[in-house]
Amino acid sequence: MNPFSSGTRLRDMIRAIRACKTAAEERAVVRKECAAIRDSINANDHDYRHRNLAKLMFIHMLGYPTHFGQMECLKLIASPGFPEKRIGYLGLMLLLDERQEVLMLVTNSVKQDLNHTNQYIVGLALCALGNICSAEMARDLAPEVERLLQFRDPNIRKKAALCSIRIIKKVPDLAENFINPATSLLREKHHGVLIAGVQLCADLCKTSTEALEHIRKKCTDGLVRTLKDLANSPYSPEYDIAGITDPFLHIRLLKLLRVLGEGDADASDSMNDILAQVATKTESNKVAGNAILYECVQTIMSIEDNGGLRVLAINILGRFLSNRDNNIRYVALNMLMRAVTADAQAVQRHRATILECVKDSDASIRKRALELVYVLVNETNVKPLAKELIDYLEVSDPDFRGDLTEKICSIVAKFSPEKIWYIDQMLKVLSEAGNFVKDEVWYALIVVISNASELHGYTVRALYRAFQTSAEQETLVRVTVWCIGEYGDMLVNNVGMLDIEDPITVTESDAVDVIEIAIKRHASDLTTKAMALVALLKLSSRFPSCSERIREIVVQFKGNLVLELQQRAIEFNSVIAKHQNIRSTLVERMPVLDEATFVGRRAGSLPGTASTPTVPSVSIPNGVVKPVAPLVDLLDLSSDDVPAPSSSGGDLLQDLLGVDMSGASQQSGTGQASKSGKDVLLDLLSIGSPSAPSSSSTVDILSSNTSNKAPASPLDDLSSLSLSSRETSNAAPMMDLLDSFSPSPPTENNGPVYPSVTAFESSSLKLTFNFSKQPGNPQTTSIQATFTNLSPNTYTDFVFQAAVPKFLQLHLDPASNNTLPGNGSITQTLRVTNNQHGKKSLVMRIRIAYKINGKDALEEGQISNFPRDL
């Protein structure tokens, strides 16, 4: 073998690759090298085999494919010399893995090498086996490894011990063969072997309970003695790290003791003394010492309860928290997080230090600390903690604000002792970090404000003040706009003044100024602007003196490019200009939002209090994006009064209609026209969503709330009433009524109504379908399926499946619940698209599976009684 012959050396190849300026150049070099290596492999060149493989390993690290070199590894391993074998095994570990078939071919070579006279070759084989051994290899080679556990050389013994770990992980059945040799390793004096032996025992305990029992009975005392010797041992330079004798062995021993002590009082008892000794005697000014302390704390927290030791452990963690080293603080926080479940009281004592860590300069420490604070908050300490956090919000990192805001909101909402405190804190958060506040949070705030009737005046004044300083915070602007719209008169008249407030003078035009700023701000998004428009409409009735100014602002939006705003502006303009008599009633203060409904719905949609999933949103064709589902009603409420979630919504509508009836009849004077007026108003009120679904979604919400009597909801009646009226009325009075309302004739707004059908009925279950269609999309039918339980038994694991022929497309939304209580009902929405609309009518095959008292039940059927034209 002449090392200086043809072909580049490894060193030259690395140099060539390093000299590459671009990725393309590098690829070219690698491609050339790979080609040369392939040639060499094909020529079966013995001399360069290990050089080729060394190159391939380098190429592999850079991320290029090297599978063609796998067979070369096997050939090198089979060759007699040590250098070849060394490269061969190295290649085997890097280029191959346990999943490859090729690996089977190597078993025999490895077996021979395990029995080799040269202990370094044995070491290589063990090393490779420990890294890539598969289950088959483990079975074949376990006896060899077991024998090597008693090898004379300590290097081989420790490698064999670690290799055994791999083997028992791959084939747990083999664990019992290793119990005896493993326990004998625990009596070793050589540190390296001892570490490996302790590790092997710990893994044996994990895989087999038999081993755990055996080791617990036979070895606990021995291990305690070993640890004691180690802790008291004089300075031994070899295994010393920064003056601490072998921290790794300390840690391994403590870990094994933890496994042995868990769930066994006797074993825990026997190790108490040594744990206390380690916890108190270990120096804590070095990383190595802290590593031991940390492990010791973990062991103390896991073994059977000993109150005194636990307090000691948590105090150690408390000390860690004030350590200057970031790493120590980090692990302490991690550990405290786990300790909180065991002993919250002891952790509470370190609250102040933890709170300091929230302000740490290190992001990962901040995050940990914040999570910990969140867990520590309770009713008694929420006030000071929230204050600290909110104060910190001002100076915090922008990256961190999102997390921090979310946690503060969650804490404040969960533990607030009184409403005024809640509102105060939320206002502070909104003015500091309003842009980070999630939608649900400010919805919730509005609900609370609406419920706190004695605080309306106070809140609107506080918001007005906050707006003057922090008008750039989107959510603050929204809440302010909503509150001024609702309670603007209280702002101006200083109604409901509290003792703690400073009196302020706000004129009517100041209030309108706020809304004007909000609506004209470039950064304001669609929702804010739409809310501001509604607020203006409301103010126009509350402040008659500003009515003309408001109208001017509204008129500016008549030409807005966004359909939503344009439509609102046009409609509101005509309300302000032409319908003085109904306006004040139309824009009456909103009924109190039902807190329980909102909270209940939020709890339903948010599984954990800490997590706040994003609100699903749909985009409506004209680009308006609105949050849907659980919160749609709130948004609609804030904007246009129609779909009130509580029963009062119905009353309000009745009121509105009553007023409207008189107003319209004055104008047209005929009964027919009055009906059509009602219709128009209905359309007017559903402006929140330009196309009809507003009313259908209301039906959804109402029916899911009042479960049983879905079809009987008042709104449904209303819409059918309006429908029948449309058939009789002519379009003229309507156009007259809202002449600026030209682009889309309102007749399109409500689709035809189909009778609901009983799709399926058995002795125990009834299924009814209600149909609705999106206007402009006649092919798609939205079906609301209501399942009614006719028996007193509760059905669990309720699953509804449906199948349709090819010309139909079916989309199933999740059901409102998967448990159907006795005599109760649940709903589920289906959407069917009929590709042959008008030619074929719907058919559907259904299957309903559920469990009665744990017994499976299945109902099947075909539905062909759909109304025609669906």
Partner: protein, 195 residues
């Protein structure tokens, strides 16, 4: 157990990568990129721990240390002590330092397989094998002695004898100690030189 050991330079080039759990090559590269993206965005004087769960799956922790132009990164699971892993990085670097006398990035690049041999003496199949750098060094020396193939060994011997003879001629006496020293101090470096 330790899941992976990575050495990256400050440009994100892998200098050493060893995965103790199977990962396909593309995934390995992606993980290296992810790790680098996290590391290079971390400021100085922050903790050496990073949340690795987002790219290494549940229960993964990452400890790194920054030396000159290299990041040394260990990824491991909850069965290992974080602080001890930090010390283990120290052991690895110390060992390399003793092996190469002031180790630098170039040593790692050009002595790729040697670094792997060192690593295999410290971490074995994801478990800690040896924590004393002197012990590791001893083992490495033994291995490198074996690595000297007879031919190379003869060449070195010849070379040394010539040197010794020259010296002896000049000074008038034969110094045998020098001869043994020169082999003992350097054998590891001859081994791969010839590949």
């Amino acid at each position: 157990m330790i899941r992976a050991v990575l050495v990256l330079n400050t440009q994100g080039k892998p200098r050493l990568s060893k995965f103790y759990e199977y990962q396909p090559v593309e995934k390995q590269q992606q993980l290296i990129r992810n790790v680098f993206a996290v590391l290079c965005s971390r400021p100085e004087h922050v903790s050496n721990f990073v949340d690795a769960e987002s790219f290494f799956g549940p229960d993964a922790r990452l400890v790194y240390k920054h030396f000159a132009t290299l990041y040394f990164v260990f990824i491991f699971d909850s069965s290992e002590n974080e602080l001890a892993m930090l010390d283990l990085i120290q052991v690895l670097v110390e060992t390399m330092d003793k092996c190469f006398r002031n180790v630098c990035e170039l040593d790692v690049v050009f002595n790729y397989s040697k670094i792997h041999t060192i690593l295999d003496e410290i971490i074995f199949g994801g478990q800690v094998l040896e924590t004393s750098s002197t012990e590791v060094l001893k083992a490495i020396e033994e291995i490198s002695k074996c690595s000297l193939s007879p031919l190379v060994f003869n060449m070195v011997l010849l070379f040394c004898i010539i040197m010794v003879n020259k010296k002896a001629l000049r000074s008038g006496k034969l110094v045998t100690r020098d001869f043994s020293l020169s082999i003992k101090a350097q054998p590891f470096f001859y081994a791969d030189e010839m590949i």
